[in-house]
């Protein structure tokens, strides 16, 4: 498998607070990398840097060998190739479900309306929301909104998909319907960089696990090594904080 995304020693600072400290990560095409870590460790910031929503002070981010650091290239061109889904769904409230899906293809890629709508309907059918195509986001449940948001990102045919704690705002019974969509994307070979607190899900979906603490990558490895034989004390402690009654 060839490398698709390379994060090369990036650092992110706000004034004198270092959020990311020389983080390096390489992601191969079709690989699913799951990042976990305590709140405020910098994992969401890392995703935002990859998508140029944050600028970085040091290092370099390469997509297919091309530098995508802010300033080097128009961020809009880069973002077309990198899809992102947010914790709070962020569907456009004044547009219907189908319009949410077709807006970017129509405006950015100049896809024909018919073609965009056909693809949108196909994706809605895939996540069981075809009957909701003319509803507004406010008429959907959180889980439905998030499934629409994932499909909206897919409409741009991104090479990499960034998922930023996409189940964190959901009621527990809706988490599964969203994670099943992500699992099916993993099965069809999508390249994904996922930040989550759902460790069981992480284990099921990940090809590789990454543990970030204090702005640095502390440990990374296969899900098996990661969960069964954590090498560092910090990761052991972190994993332990999720278990009860032991």
């Amino acid at each position: 498998m060839e490398e698709i995304l390379r994060i090369n020693g990036i650092s992110k600072r706000y004034d004198d607070i270092t959020v990311l400290d020389h983080v390096s990560l390489s992601i191969k095409s079709g690989e699913v990398v799951v990042i976990v870590g305590p709140s405020g460790c910098g994992k969401s910031t890392l995703l935002r840097c990859v998508n140029s929503l944050e600028n970085i002070q040091e290092g370099e981010i390469l997509l297919n060998g091309e530098s995508v650091n802010p300033g080097n290239k128009k961020p809009a061109a880069l973002r077309q190739k990198i899809g992102m889904v947010f914790q709070s769904y962020e569907l456009f409230p004044h547009k219907t479900v189908l319009q949410n899906l077709t807006l970017a293809p129509l405006k950015v890629k100049k896809t024909g309306r018919k073609e965009a709508e056909e693809e949108g309907l196909k994706l809605l059918e895939r996540v069981g929301l075809l009957s909701r195509k003319d509803n507004y986001p406010s008429q959907l449940s959180g889980g439905q909104k998030q499934r629409v948001a994932i499909m909206r990102a897919l409409m741009m045919h991104p090479e990499v998909l960034l998922l930023d704690e996409i189940t964190a705002a959901l009621d527990p019974e809706m988490v599964r319907e969203v994670l099943e969509v992500v699992l099916s994307l993993a099965k069809e070979g999508r390249t994904m960089l996922i930040v989550t607190h759902e460790l069981q899900f992480a284990r099921a979906v990940a090809d590789r696990m990454v543990f970030i603490d204090g702005g640095r990558i502390v440990e990374e490895g296969t899900p098996e090594e990661f969960f069964e034989h954590p090498r560092t004390e910090r990761l052991r402690k972190f994993l332990h904080s999720f278990s009860y009654g032991e």
């Binding site: 809009a76 077309q80 947010f86 962020e90 970017a104 950015v108 406010s138 909206r152 741009m156």
Partner: protein, 219 residues
């Protein structure tokens, strides 16, 4: 109340009604444009212009329309600018309304969560597209109830136009009372015509609010 008197007053009130509506709506249209421009320069922190807009909003929000009209109607000719009373009415209403509309639009723009913009950007949309397709429609949606309230408020403010000798509804009522002393009839017609002018606006405002309900951010 004498129906014959009411009937005889009708043509004068109808004429005043049309004038009031004309100046009122032209003023409101101007207020819309001024308010939008002012809100944009304040929201996007455009240097220099943002300060001018800030002073403008505070000045016009904190002075009565009557005082503003006097300045425009009696003050401008002193510096060599002579405009008709009607133009003064439109300008005065536009400047007053602009300061209110500016605050309305600005709060609409500020109510949109930053993540909305980021999610649009992350789909590859340009900043201009994000503004046109996402931010502006959402800000306007949020502002609908406040815009409707502003429009009703501004139409009622037209009642001070009589002070610069515009023959609006208020002027007509005062004039007729002075001429014939049929106070009850004159005031009845005044209330009637203001209601005819404002009730449809109020109803349209409610309809607009219902239409946008469920399309606001954060739901």
């Amino acid at each position: 109340m004498d129906p014959e008197v009411l009937k005889s007053y009708l043509p004068r009130y109808a004429e005043a009604f049309l004038l009031t509506i004309k100046i009122g709506w032209l003023g409101i249209a101007l207020a819309f444009v001024i308010g939008m421009l002012s809100a944009f320069v304040i929201h996007f922190r455009i240097p220099v212009l943002k300060r001018i807009a800030g002073y403008y909003v505070e000045l016009f929000r904190n002075t009565p329309l009557l005082v503003q009209l006097f300045f425009i109607y009696f003050g401008l000719p002193k510096v060599g600018i002579v405009i008709s009373a009607e133009a003064c009415g439109v300008l005065g209403l536009g400047l007053l309304g602009g300061s209110y509309m500016s605050e309305t639009f600005r709060s609409g723009l500020e109510a949109i969560p930053a993540a909305q913009k980021e999610s649009a950007l992350s789909l590859g949309m340009s900043r201009g597209q994000v503004f046109r397709e996402i931010i502006l429609p959402e800000a306007l949606t949020i502002s609908v109830p406040a815009i409707a309230a502003n429009v009703i408020f501004l139409l009622k403010e037209t009642s001070v136009f009589s002070a610069i000798s515009l023959m609006d509804l208020m002027f007509t009522a005062k004039d007729l009372i002075g001429l014939y002393y049929d106070t009850t009839e004159a005031l009845f017609m005044l209330v009637l015509f203001y209601t005819i002018m404002l009730l449809p606006v109020s109803i349209l405002g409610s309809i607009a609010e219902k239409t946008v309900r469920g399309k606001m951010p954060g739901q």
